[in-house]
Amino acid sequence: MAKITIDKTIFEFEGDQPSLLQFCLDREIELPHFCYHPAMSAPANCRQCLVEIGNPERDRETGQIMVDEEGNEVIRFFPKLMTSCSENISDGLVVRTQRSSDLVRRAQKDNLEFLLINHPLDCPICDQAGHCPLQNQAYKYGPEGSRFEFRKVSKPKHIRLGPRVVLDAERCINCTRCTRFTSEISKSHQLTIVERSVKNYPMTPPGIEFDEPYSMNVIDICPVGALTSEDFRFKARVWEMSSTPSITTTNAKGSNCYYWVKDNRVLKITPRTNMNVNEFWLADDDRLDYERFNDDRPPGPTVDGEASSWEDGYARAAHILGNVDGNRIAFLGSAHASVEDNYLLARLAEKLGTAAPMYIEHVEVGSGDDWLRTDDRAPNASGCARLGFTVADADLFGPRLKGGEIDVLYVLEDDPVSTGLCTSDDLHGVSVILHHYNESNQTLPLATVSLPAATVVETVGTFVNIDGHAQRVRPAKAIRGVNRTLAMEIGRSRADQHGTPFDRWYNEENLINCQPGWVSVPGVANALGLDMPTTNPKAIMAELASTNSAFEGATYSAMGEYGIRLSEIGETV
């Protein structure tokens, strides 16, 4: 097997390998770097990843590897340091990183001094501070001070490159990650580096706005604070927020993300790498979809339009359901709700002798692309379909309501009126039980019982994306009231990269009085006297995974952080 020696440790490898830099990073050998990004070409322009590289020396005549008196291979090092990001690895290569070479340490330090010459060092007012590769690496590998005694170059500041991205050209180190993103990944070709030498900076050419639907990705990949979000600028420092790994729900792709929360408000959404779903990227829609979690939330359950307690809400819903014939009830599941919630709803329908729930399709033709946005604007249509739910047809549903065939409409986390499934008039004389996220829900004014539902950032659950990838969501913020499962999950899933334990999460501000479906649906069932244990979502998925072939293997532990690909429906494994 081929081998490579890095700082005296020998690593074996086989087959094609990434660049030396990535090879090291994959083995947790840290090498400082800025311009290299695993998804893009390596221009090797930041010069931060320098290492010493050598090959065993061979005897010219015999071709034998030469050894010194002590029997060690003689290594001939390149006279200059090499950039590890653009170096391919080959058998026998010997590498010295900053961990073993003074020369490399010195070079990295000097390089950082150069990078910082014209950098404004305005970290105290910079959004990137706290998770800034330049700040971190300057701290770890950089010089103690600068020897540059002249005025720093002033460049354009707070320039709106487009509607969502702001440039501070002084902070830019010209790594070209952002321009490479637009030319290699999104292919919008909206950015370029203009001018030359100390005067250069990234910019759109005249007459062009940086408005592509994936523009905000450059904010994450910018290794300094040169590109910031118009939306998030100056709202919070990273260390004041906690981040929770989850998925986004504006469409059926289920891109992996982090929800950043401060005082129980979601403030920003950033991508989380998952090579099976969204790789490193996240659409702008997905990033800006957080206000509905914070604002426009209902104050609590209502009965006949009046505020009520949860118990009264459950009791009234049970009363309504218990007094009609099962076939005069219609259940609507939801492509916005988790598999668990929909499954419990199906159980409830079954116990009442009602047909399986249907669900509303949220397809907006043309809103998707071939990448991370789909025409389907709901996250879990696949999950509903796998549960055997069919799509509710507006042509049939409205007339059935109007024709007096249905006395009770039970809606899980959706809005039949605004989606056009039926009109408010159709609902005249129908008792509506509604689980809803937002006050602006247009079915809400017609609801006899309304039960505020926990949104994707407040619950535990499973969503199946358009490709059949089943993924878990985790609570990023707390809800009002005590729920042991949620509390445990919050504690377990907080990937706080910056926070300290017991801060932010548990302050009492901005807590929403809502319940996850897996609490409120059993709440209604139990008020009806039906036997539906208030169980936790993990147990529900375990049950589904073993009883329903469409969810085979989808247990919480199997899904973990990155989800699993379910087999096609009907396919036997």
């Binding site: 170059v153 460049k155 203009v194 001018e195 030359r196 759109t204 050419p205």
Partner: protein, 224 residues
């Protein structure tokens, strides 16, 4: 460069300037298009042709405002942003309208020592403009540039990205301006190097009419 060192401010370029040329004017002739196609075929990928096409456009339109850069990008078949990046990288591509003749006076190390700034200041007072400006009659633009690789014949200047005029003195500058005013291109004068004179019997170029034998370099007034 001096001003930039004292006051290093990079200004933001205008993001939506009004176009200078109308759509009717923004076309390449069939002959130019054929030329462009030929250049494109000469590189492994078409991107390579962009520099020549920008050059062609500059000769045709006089300078390269954004709409002309976009035209060249479309013609070559590369993104506008890439062409714009290339055009702004090279100072020899004029993004702003210049005078008919652009005088690029070298003030880099060797020329500076040999009086590059003396020449520059002489031209400033002679033309009545400051460096970076254009004369009212639109004839001359004066610019300061870094080393043009003719240090052996310092001080020197270049006329509109073309002709080198070397071994400059006030008299030579006067003559140059006269020639240009008359609408003529100055004859290229080859200035030989000392070693040519000493060792190679002059080493005259066979393709050049005017010669001047190497002489000791002048020394800048300020250095003196």
């Amino acid at each position: 460069m001096t001003n930039f060192i004292k006051d290093p401010v990079v200004m933001m370029a205008e993001r939506n300037p009004d176009p200078v040329f109308s759509n009717d004017e923004l076309v390449f002739s069939d002959q130019e298009k054929r030329l462009i196609e030929r250049w494109k075929s000469q590189y492994p990928t078409v991107d390579g042709a962009i520099m020549r096409v920008l050059w062609l456009a500059q000769e045709k339109f006089g300078f390269l405002p954004p709409e002309v850069i976009r035209l060249t990008a479309d013609e070559v078949g590369i993104p506008y942003a890439n062409a714009y990046g290339v055009a702004t990288f090279y100072t020899q591509y004029y993004k702003k309208k210049r005078g008919k003749h652009v005088l690029d006076v070298c003030t880099c190390f060797s020329c500076q020592v040999c009086g590059g700034y003396d020449i520059l200041h002489y031209l400033e007072s002679k033309l009545g403009i400051h460096v970076g400006e254009t004369t009212d009659d639109g004839l001359f633009t004066l610019q300061e540039v870094e080393c043009l690789g003719a240090c052996g014949s310092a001080p020197m200047l270049q006329v509109t990205n073309g002709r080198y005029v070397m071994d400059l003195t006030h008299e030579r500058v006067d003559a140059l301006i006269d020639t240009l005013r008359k609408g003529k291109t100055p004859e290229f004068t080859s200035v030989t190097l000392p070693q040519d004179e000493d060792e190679l019997g002059g080493n005259r170029r066979s393709d050049v009419k005017e010669f001047q034998a190497s002489s000791p370099r002048p020394v800048s007034e300020t250095v003196r």
